[in-house]
Amino acid sequence: MYRVKPTSTSRTSVKRREKWPKWAEKRRKMVKILLNGESREVGAANILALIEEIGIEARKLAVEQNLEIVPRSQYHETAISEGDRIEIVHFVGGG
């Protein structure tokens, strides 16, 4: 699995993809998922890659895939499939 380092903005993900070597591009299959309630096409093959694609530190998050919690230790081995409903949450101010 080919991964890119997270950068300061997620918008650069399209640019980064252009730089990927051909062999990685071939393996990469875009899948359509529902991410935080929004329909999205993502290239990430697993949860860790998805988080890196978004550009957020994993230590501050919790992830749910199809209503099941994904433990942080399993991000890299949890595959993303077409039609997955994924929620990525964190703590915000509240009373």
């Binding site: 919690i69 915000v92 101010g93 509240g94 009373g95």
Partner: protein, 265 residues
């Protein structure tokens, strides 16, 4: 109480779910101008516990400020809430995510009914509590001031009962001293007044009733100077607690002179 005990009164702690705290003020982290002000107010209040909410990460701007970078977990115990949940299943789902994000079990359950009053739906709250207890959570429960329901919550395994003193965010002050006192008398777990405090005297009133701690958010966050109000609340909670422990004088219908009547010239 001896004077030296007053000076070093660090022994007045309270325990919830086996965790010991010395501050009897829990503060929320909502409604502040920004997280920096929020953190400054939380520090000024002396609180050891802060309530937090669980929400979706903003995917379009993942670099916006994050609570955890300001109100730090090595400084405060996070108490994740279920704000916005209307069913037991929503509450369990939210708090499981909170447990994964933070790695702890102590949580605040609130299952609300209508948006106008934000009054708790007690039937659903009790059902949610049972689901959470079964899932291994230590649950502090936001509830109405109904002593019967308070008892039921305790029997279902709540680690703290947190009745409102007035509607959330209203700042109306403690409106229900009689029912709060009954709940406090009956409970074997800590009782906290959660919601209703508007200013420092309200916090003192709550503590004088004998509750173990007070939870507030808006009274500090929406004060003109939140940091100064946080300091005021810290003192008010201590004052109310000390007054409760000291035991107030009996109320009388008429005057009773403080200077002796004997020896008048």
């Amino acid at each position: 109480m001896a004077l030296d005990q007053v000076v070093t009164k660090t022994d007045d702690t309270w325990i919830v779910a086996g965790r010991t705290f010395s501050s009897r003020l829990i503060v929320g982290t909502g409604k502040y101008k920004d997280y920096a002000q929020n953190a400054a107010a939380a520090r000024a209040s002396g609180a050891e516990i802060v309530t937090v909410a669980v929400r979706r990460v903003n995917l379009t701007d993942p670099n916006q400020p994050m609570l955890m970078d300001y109100v730090k977990q090595d400084e405060f115990t996070y108490l994740p809430n279920t704000a916005g949940c209307f069913t037991g299943e929503d509450a369990v789902r939210t708090l499981r995510l909170a447990r994964e994000a933070g790695g702890w079990n102590l949580v605040k359950l609130e299952v609300l009914s209508d948006p106008k009053t934000l009054y708790p739906d007690m039937e659903e709250t009790l059902r949610s509590l049972k689901l959470l207890v079964k899932d291994g959570f230590d649950v502090m429960v936001y509830c109405s001031d109904d002593p019967v329901y308070a008892k039921k919550l305790e029997e279902a395994g709540a680690v703290a009962i947190m009745p409102l003193g007035a509607p959330i965010g209203s700042g109306l002050g403690i409106q229900n001293k009689v029912t709060l006192r009954i709940i406090i008398e009956n409970a074997k777990v800590p009782v906290l007044v959660d919601a209703g405090v508007g200013t420092a005297s309200d916090a003192a009133v709550g503590m004088e009733l004998g509750c173990d701690a007070i939870l507030m958010n808006t009274a500090i966050a929406e004060a003109k100077d939140p940091i100064r109000m946080a300091v005021a609340m810290k003192h008010a909670v201590i004052a109310g607690r000390e007054a409760y422990l000291a035991g107030r004088m009996p109320k009388k219908l008429y005057a009773d002179p403080s200077s002796p009547l004997a020896g008048l010239i």
